[in-house]
Each structure stands twice: as C-alpha cells, then as structure tokens.
C-alpha cells in the first residue's frame, strides 16, 4: 500500500489506517523508538502513542509523500519525552554516546539564549545537513536523527564501519567549523 493510500484512509477516518501504517512502518518505528529508549516495552508504548497521535493529526496534516518521516517525528518526540521523564533513572547508553559526539560540534547550552535562538540554530544545522553530499548526508541523518548505531548504518549503506566513523567525524568537524565561522560558540 502506498503512503498516499494510507494517508487517504486516515483522512477518511478509516480505522484500518492505523493498522496499515503499523504494518508498513511498525518495524521501522520500533527500531527508532528502541534506539532512543533502549527498552522494548517502552519502545512499543511509544510507537502505539505515536500512531494514536497520527490518527489525531491526519487530517489536517496530509503527508502523502513522506509518511515515514512524519510518523518518525512523532515517535522521536514521544520517545524523547519519555526519556526526559525517566532521565533520572535510566538512559540509553547509545543516546549517551551519541550525545557526546554531538557535543563536540554544537554550541554549549549557555550560548543558546531562548527558543528563537534555538530554532535559528536548528535551521542553520538543517541547511548544513541538506547541503552535504548524498553519502555524508545519509550517514549523518541516520546517526543523529534516526539514532542508528554505526554498525547498523554500515550495514544499511553497504560500507565499512571505519568509513562510517570517518564520515561522521569529518562531518561533525565541518559543522563545528561552520558554526564557529558564523559566530556560534562551540
């Protein structure tokens, strides 16, 4: 079933829409949620919550072309909120590692003054990512948006582990350099 057909079911308030979305993307959404939470049970809850949220948001949204990213955004937000709530107790080791990687190249907490500044920074980062070569862009997004492990990225891209690590390292370095040139304190 195409993304558009699934979206049409949501719009038509056909309850089979959620089942269709789960059937097509459930595994992918679970992987993303588990990358963030590190826990199968919590991940399953996040995915269910996300599909429920999608039911309530389509319409008015109509992500005909890019349903997966739409659902992934909801899952991400849901999973991150769950982790924020539980951060005193447990945090995924993978997320800790990934956070440390990004800290190398992103501004310190004190230098981002408010929400507007934060959005401006995110927009800057998005422009940077979208301007990368296809391979670098994909590897960077898989790591820092989909929170995939480097092993999973290597397998998905058909490249070596060493190449993934090198691409990530160099891209982070590039981002840092660009941010510093544009007045950000990294």
């Amino acid at each position: 079933m195409t993304d558009s057909e699934i979206v049409m079911r949501f719009i038509a308030r056909d309850e089979a829409a959620v089942a269709s979305a789960r059937e097509k993307y459930g595994e992918r959404l679970m992987a993303l949620a588990k990358n963030i939470t590190g826990d199968n049970g919590i991940a399953e809850e996040c995915v269910s919550d996300a599909l429920f949220t999608a039911w309530n948001s389509i319409p008015p949204n109509e992500p005909h072309e890019y349903l997966l990213p739409y659902l992934c955004r909801i899952v991400r937000n849901t999973a991150v909120s769950r982790m924020r709530a539980e951060r005193a107790n447990k945090r995924s080791a993978a997320i800790v590692e990934l956070t440390h990687e990004l800290e190398e190249c992103l501004p310190s907490p004190a230098s981002v003054e408010d929400e507007a500044a934060g959005n401006e920074l995110k927009a800057f980062i998005a422009r940077f990512v979208e301007g990368l070569s296809e391979e670098k862009r994909s590897v960077f997004v898989l790591r820092y948006w989909y929170f995939e492990s480097v092993e999973a990225i290597a397998k998905k891209r058909g490249i070596s582990l060493s190449k993934v690590k090198t691409l990530l390292h160099r891209t982070r370095k590039e981002l840092k350099k660009l941010l510093e040139k544009n007045g950000y304190e990294v």
Binding site: Y66, P69, V80, V141, G158
Partner: protein
Amino acid sequence: MEDFDILSALDMVNDETLALADIPQKKKPAVTRWVLPAAAALLLVAGGAAFGVMMGGRGKAPAPVKEVYVPRAEYEEPEGDFDPSTVGCFNYNGRIYLHTVMLPPDCGLKGDKLGSISMDRKNFYRLQDWEPGRGNIDEVIYEVKGFDPSFVVCSVNPGYGLNIYMNDNDITLTSGADLFETRYHLRERLTSLTYGYDSEYDPVEDKRYFRLDRAFPEETAALLDALDASEPLLWGDPVSDTETLTFDYFNRSVTKEYLLRADIGGMLARIGLREDGLVRVYGFNEVVFRADRDAVSAVIELMKNKQGEEVDPPRSFYKNYEDLKNDPELGSAVPGRMPEGFRENGASISYNANYSTGEVLSTREMYISFSRQSAGGNAYISMEFGRASSVVNEYGSAAKWFVPASEFTEENIRAYSENGYTDYNAYLLAGSAYIELTWNGSVTTEEILDMIASIG
C-alpha cells in the same frame, strides 16, 4: 542546550532528506572481514571454551583486522595561503585524482590514452561537485605503464615532463601492503632506494646522494617487509597514550624525518622514516604507517652515517673549448666554431660520477665563455649546455623556454637588467641538449644569429 535539546538539533531537516537517508543501499557490504572478527570477539566474550568447540578446538581466534578508510578528497576552505587551484585534480571514473609529482619526459612511463579532462569553471573549487571527466585542469590523461589506472594516471606537459596524478583517497587500507605493494608495486619494481645528505632529498648541486639497496640488501628487504606489514593510521589518530601525530599545515611531520627516494621503475615515491617507526609517504596526506621500529631504525642509522653507494655527486673541472666539443653527450651541441673575432675566455664541465670508483656516470652541464674587445667595452657571449631533461626550477620541473636552434629569430631574445647591467638571453634546444645563451649589448645581432646558425 541540554542534552535532549542536542537530540533535537536536526529537527528542521526536511522530510525528503529524512526519507532518502533511510533507503538501504543495494551495494554489497564492503568486506566481510570486519564481520568475522566481531563475531569471533562475541564468541570469545561468551566463553573461550565455547569458541573452542565452535572451532573444533583448533587454533586461536583471528586477530581483528583493522581497516582505515581514507576519506574522499574534498575541497576545504583554504587556511593561510594554500590555494587548492594550484593542485591539479580531477574526477576520472568517479574517483578524485590529485597531482603528486612530475617525472622527467624521458621516464618512459606514458601509456595508452585514457580520456580527457576538462575544467569545471562553475565548480572550480568544489571537488565534490565535479562530474567524471571534470576537474581544474584541461588535459588528456594516459595510463602510467606498469600501474593500475584506478590508482595512478598521467598527463603530458610538453618540454616539462609527465604529471602524475594519484587516486589515494576514498580507499580502505588494512595494512601498508595495500599501498606499497598493491598500488606502488614497490617490492616488484624497485630500481633504487636513495637518500640525500642531511637526510633531505633536495636537488641542489652541493648535496650528496647515496644508494642503499645494492649496498645493504638485507636492510632494504627488511624495510620493505616492514612497510608491507605496517599498520595504517589516520592523521589525528593517537599513536600512543601520550602522543598523537602532529603535522604542520603543509603536512610535514614536526618530528624529524629521514627521507628516502624510491625509484619504482621510473615512478617516484618519497618516503619519510621516523625514529619512532612511523612512516609517511609524501603526497599521501591522510595516513601514516606504523612499521616495525627495528627495521626502520636500521635504515635510519645507515642514513645518519652516510652509508651506501654514493651516486651522482656533481663535480666540475675546467676544460678547453676543443675538449668540450669532444664530450660524448653534449659535444654535438657545441658550436662548430668560435665566433669570428672572439677568443675563448673559459670553459668548464660538471658531471656525475661514482664517488668510489671515479666512473663518470653522466655529463651535467658545460659552460663556455667567449669575449672580444669592442668600441663600447668587452663583448661577451657565454653558453651553458645541458641535457634538456635535467633542467629544473624551484618547482622541480623544466621551466625555461626553449626554442629549437633552427627556429631562432630575433623575437626569441629575452633581455633582463640586473645590477645595472643589461644582458640578453636566448634559450635554445639543439637535439636533446638545452643551451642558455647570454650576451651583452656590445655583441651584435648578426654575431648572435651567426653563432646560433653554427649550432644547427
């Protein structure tokens, strides 16, 4: 930004980018070697006995093979005065090739034509945007005989030499052999291994050069073994608990290096050895190799003590005009007669010889000077002769402008003024010899044309 805000850093990346990133590539996984060690490591963690059972109790776990990926060359905004446009580079068959060295035109390595490269003026600085066949040069490229075009190709610079371009980026190395053997064929094609006095190879006449491979074959063989077995390290990798590789902007190691010149059947590899066992290949900027320290140190000791067969030391001695005419290499370019009314002022010849035996290996340059009295002062003509392929300038390639002697006209004359004197120069070719002719204003044009005509 708190840590979870960091996780939201890519929130504004668009949906298309996100969707495309998630599409698996249909390429085959690059190698399975990294999978095997990981699996073996997991088995070991689970219990050595279990692993023993799996392997039938035979043999040890394979040592993990470390791969080093050398990133694809990309343009980075220049720091200091480095300008990437001065480095010839291009995309051939989807791979980026970079200029590394120029070889003499008579090296004999030019192979079959492969194609043409045209300049991408719109993306002049953006290597990553070049399509195959585009770059920052406009040249025809050829195979380099004996080498794989996926590693090295060349172009011809008439009168100067062969430009060598290498694809040593976007490659994966597991050991030094992946470079030294697979690509350079160092062991198979090595014709000489030399070094210069003061441990730096510099084509300046007062340096001395020594050859190692014939005088010290065991040490040479041990070094080649060590290079093949060496471990590649990416620039910036830690090499010990306390040290990382440090290089200056031009990628010269800040630790003293002992530079070897490996002649590989006409191809050249310049290899820097360090006393800590690290080895660097000049022009291959991303990687150093950690080699067997004993093998490297043994060669460094030879170099420090100026051991080896001395080669090509330039010597000069004074001859007369008639003797120069009889020189087997350059004599045919010497003018058939002295200019009318002139007398011989002086003549000398420099040559390379085996320092130990005195055997003359090759003639380098000859110098003759003639003069005569004239109303305005002394007129003089001097000539310097040499083999055209031996002429180098500060960039290491022939740079003088040569005109075949038979085509010389008054327009070919260049004049310069130095220290208040005005001299004229002409740069000529006569066969395989170059001639730099210098004269002052008291020499008439007819006399010069007449002299050049006698060269032929």
